[in-house]
Symmetry: none
Amino acid sequence: MSLREEILDVSKELLIKNGFGNISMRKIAKRLDVTATSIYLYFKNKDELLLSLIEESINNLNRSLKNSLVDGDDPVEQFESIINAYIGYALNHPQEYEIIYMVRAEEMPKYPKEKFEQIRDTYEILEKVIREGKDKELFEVDNPLISAYSIWAQTHGIVSVVLNKRLDTRIPTQQFINQAVEHLVQGFLVQKTPA
Amino acid sequence: MSLREEILDVSKELLIKNGFGNISMRKIAKRLDVTATSIYLYFKNKDELLLSLIEESINNLNRSLKNSLVDGDDPVEQFESIINAYIGYALNHPQEYEIIYMVRAEEMPKYPKEKFEQIRDTYEILEKVIREGKDKELFEVDNPLISAYSIWAQTHGIVSVVLNKRLDTRIPTQQFINQAVEHLVQGFLVQKTPA
Amino acid sequence: MSLREEILDVSKELLIKNGFGNISMRKIAKRLDVTATSIYLYFKNKDELLLSLIEESINNLNRSLKNSLVDGDDPVEQFESIINAYIGYALNHPQEYEIIYMVRAEEMPKYPKEKFEQIRDTYEILEKVIREGKDKELFEVDNPLISAYSIWAQTHGIVSVVLNKRLDTRIPTQQFINQAVEHLVQGFLVQKTPA
Amino acid sequence: MSLREEILDVSKELLIKNGFGNISMRKIAKRLDVTATSIYLYFKNKDELLLSLIEESINNLNRSLKNSLVDGDDPVEQFESIINAYIGYALNHPQEYEIIYMVRAEEMPKYPKEKFEQIRDTYEILEKVIREGKDKELFEVDNPLISAYSIWAQTHGIVSVVLNKRLDTRIPTQQFINQAVEHLVQGFLVQKTPA
DNA sequence: CATGAATGAGTTTTCATTCAT
DNA sequence: CATGAATGAAAACTCATTCAT
């Protein structure tokens, strides 16, 4: 692994462990047993380093979601599959997920808007699935784009609660996720009238 | 307004604008045209200041939610009312709302657990409503406690997206909220079988 | 007890516990549950407070030594008695003793020389006893004044070691003192030639 | 001279001049015309700097005493030689000597015990000499270890008085030292019975 | 007699960054 | 490709002291 990659890795780790405010070039350097100066060989400054971090994380998430798309023509299945993939990614790569969503625009003022727009890829995937489901009268949605955002928002909420450990200790995580996803999906389905 | 209150106010503002890592006693002081030392007359140290901030915010949210509870015996109405109150509070007091959820365990290690537990009041209100709805066979829920958390999580997700301005610029905020809440509520209702 | 006395008392305590560098008006005030400002009602400033402290301590030591002087005409007895009184005072009032001797001129630049001269009273007492012993050919000393200082210096050394806890843990304090004093006294006596 | 050494030197100077409480990283830096930050390149923090100072001083004293040991088999001569070496070192290196004994447990709580134990080397040298003298019936001592400590204590007292300038101005320093040492030694010798 | 509010200078320490090598 | 030495700005916090009340 190149030093550049090592720097990104350690940064990721420190960022999550200590938060945005407590990451420092020196700490990164010390962890890698190099001088802080060396970091500047690979990144122009701290902002650029953090930027690379976010960019990389977003790309990983997008790639992961695209790969998760099951073949097949059942939009409901695809719907559930994509939500689970999203949650799965977030829980399996909490660091990267947090980097993407914990970044507050104000804390990273130099972060160019275009980068964030990359995340939109995800909604488009979602939107397509919803549109298909709507056409087949499986989903009861008004506006697929808004719905895509709604789904994403609700899913993000579920993930946040888990990642931030705000869950009541009496509740098993997995059970919470299952139920929450069930409710979430239910909210978009056409009410099946019993025979 | 007393200096103590002014300090809390400015802190709130700076906290939101700059994030947890970039708030500093000096900046707070400079904004108020007092010396940093003066802050220590009202707060033992930075942690205590932030603590007061969070505590105050949580109390305000709780109070606001309790006040929102409509009288009446329709659990569905109460359900919607509470969600809307929550969202309303968050959007009307974005600073305080963010303060409550910005706190990451790692960044505020000295934050006493009991304070966080205060937020649980909210779930209990929610849980009670759900339990009633379940008894009246209006809500299709398995476990009211988990459902309460699920609702809260999803609502938080909706709010987050709006507050963090991650919404597609093509989507009007209010419309997004309406639709999202509709889906959210729908996900918990018993499917009404047509006559 | 008046507040002035209470201030002196607490100062004494803090001075010993924390050393000269770590004593502060605020700490004194907090300990007494008064505002720091109140101290200024009794002492012009910090230096004057410390000054009063030293002055008081020196007076106490002098008074104590004078009281210890046994009546009688045996200079050797008086010699031993005065040394023991000195050590006794130091060990029983370690705070005051340390204040007197741990004060380094440099740390208390505003301390007027005259105050320190007050300690000379002690030597004069000692000198008188030695002179008497010399006249009776009991003490083998050259210059009573120098000898007085020598005795005082050596006694101070003994006390220092004990107070600063630099004694080997295997050595019982009392036994150390007894032996040291014995050697000390022995060094000044005329060698008795056996019959 | 390296900056590290320069820092130690200036620190020594300031420590003596201003005492433990009034030494500051900034003052050290200013004296050397470097920024305070630079000190941290050589010492982890203030405590480590002071520690290095003490350690270095103790080592120097020990080395100096060991070198002073005259060859030969006369314990009395060796006894006097070691005391004079001790006093000589203290008067020639007053800064370092004071540093060693200035340290009060309370002011340097982080000071590792092992460092202090290094001073014990000195006593052991002394103890050995005394034991030999006792065997040859030259010294009238009960317990060589206690006697070693007693000698050291008394010598320290003599040195203290001189270094702290507490000597009566009428007394010439050298004469005081000579007489005091004479008395000190006398106190440990077997009383020679005339033929 | 005592306080409460405030200050300005001081403290140690950490940070991102630069520059010569 | 990497370092070692250094800096200037900023951080949190403490201190002695003043002043109006």
